[in-house]
């Protein structure tokens, strides 16, 4: 089961990197979403993946009767999902605003903050 997850995480990461290397902001945006989800799956796998065994300790024992998955990573993922979702919302608005104000969604053409051929500082007094 973990092997399947590892492969899935690998596919997610490669798709995310491919999209983030694009110059179009919308693709980069989708890439970051995939990137965040790849990490969530990775953390999920780090808690080990086991089917249908709730991590509940039966009465009279100190440890679970059978091997169970660690539930803590799921709490970590929940935190990470909330954070990455809010970041996605912000980036979505930012990219849309950039498209409106700068008139482009291609990263290479966004040169307002760093204009090309800026004059060099004076060489003499």
């Amino acid at each position: 089961m973990e092997l399947l997850f590892v492969l899935l995480v690998g596919v997610f990461f490669s798709a995310a990197f491919y999209l983030m290397l694009s110059k179009a902001l919308v693709r980069m945006l989708i890439g970051t979403v995939l990137f965040g989800n790849a990490v969530n799956l990775l953390i999920f796998a780090s808690g080990r993946v086991l089917r249908e065994v709730p991590p509940i300790i039966p009465p009279g024992r100190d440890v679970p009767a059978t091997l169970t998955a660690n539930p803590l990573p799921q709490a970590l993922i929940l935190t990470a999902i909330v954070i990455s979702f809010s970041f996605f919302a912000f980036l979505l608005v930012l990219v849309y605003r950039a498209y409106q104000d700068l008139g482009t969604d291609v990263a290479n053409e966004m040169r307002v903050a760093e204009p090309e051929n800026e004059p060099a500082p004076p060489a003499g007094y």
Partner: protein, 513 residues
Amino acid sequence: MAATDVDLSAALMLTPVPAADWLVVLPVALPLLAGAVLTMLRKSVRLQAAFAIPVLALLVLLDGLLLFRVLENGPVTMVMGRWLPPFGIAFTADLAGTLFALAASVVALAGAVHALADIGDGGRRYGFYPFLLLLVAGVTGAFLTGDIFNLYVWFEVLLISSFGLIVLGSEARQIDGAIKYAFLNLVATTLFLIATGYLYGLFGTLNMADIAVKAAERRADLPTMTLAALYLLAFAMKAAAFPVHFWLPASYHTPRVTVSALFAGLLTKVGVYALLRTLVMLFPVEREELSFVIALVGAATMLTGALGALGQSDIRRLLGYTVISGIGVMLAGLALGSPGGIGGAIFYALHSMVVMTALYMAAGLAGRLAGTFDLNRLGGLHARSALFSGLALVLFFAVSGLPPFSGFWPKVMVTKAALDIGAWWLAGAILLSGFLTTIAFARVFLLAFWRPAGQDLPAAAMPAASLVPLAVLTGLAVLFGLFPQALLATVQAAAQGLADPAAYIRSVFPGVT
């Protein structure tokens, strides 16, 4: 609740937390609460500054008290919900973290005062002060937390607040800068999360003291080197180290000057702090293995920073490259790993927080007085105000690492530590970058201050609200340049505490020896 016969003492602290221990979380809780209150009072523009500045002054006081307590009793720990570590989230204030937190609060207070002159009603209605307080909460939380996943959460808190600050004003160039800043920083924190996910899979714990213990025991049969390398990449990106520094010069000159000043003082230093915490305290053996890579990255960072600064005609962009150059010196200290190296890195970080903030404020004032940030057109500032010119000259000396100001001592420490182990090329890179920085700033002084004004300067007033924080921060640079002994001893003790975390671990696990 029938099962009351369960022995809770195995998982919970049954005695109430001593009142003095609350001091560990107060520096985070206070700005967080105040930020929430100010968000609700967003419409009352007049109240914003009147509320935020006293809160930040109180924060400086709290961080100062915490520092005194840590100096006297060693690291202090408080766990959330009274869960025994490693179950609950622990906040552990040690000397290094507390020093960083105190410097951050001073910088934030200076920024809040400077904003009185720089951020108008529009910016305040947009939420400058709530964002500032939440940013400070995130930064302080990152410095004081003792839990690595919690560190990630504080990184995100400070990141989302900085997004709010960087687009304050919504000009086209700010949006452009914000896009690059936002995407690249998001990738960096996600890399941090990947490393933390692997770390939990390997060690089954997130408490830093617990990780330090377990890493020492089980280093041989776990891929800890991968973790250390991932943390190095993630935090080097946050700290803007070469070759992952490109987000900084693309964005730091775009927001309001106060915001740039706060970013330069607070954000990259959190990355440096996280590097020190993970690589020195948690993975010292791996840091030793990586030290050559870190040293190369450090040398490249300081030289690209200094050369980049030489090539800029906009003084705010010049300062952005200077921030990067300073990060290189801190990385060199981290690479050396000796008490002098780590202590020098901490000292340089504290110096850089104060001086870079002051330099951005000075650049803002220069821009206000001359009506431009362009070195080709700036001029006549010395004739306009000799006091401002003097303050700027002190800062230029301090940032170039010339005596008798605060930049000199950490550079001496790191250079000496490099020469002690025969890394002459690293010492040479530090001196060369200092030399290039001196040229860059000498040229700024020559052109912007000494050169007669080309045209009549606009009749702009010099507001006290921007001159006072500038003067106070410059005063700190002079003070710690002239009387460095106390700080030198403290940063060396802080470096010792990071390299040998026995006291840190004892504070989290009091029963274990």
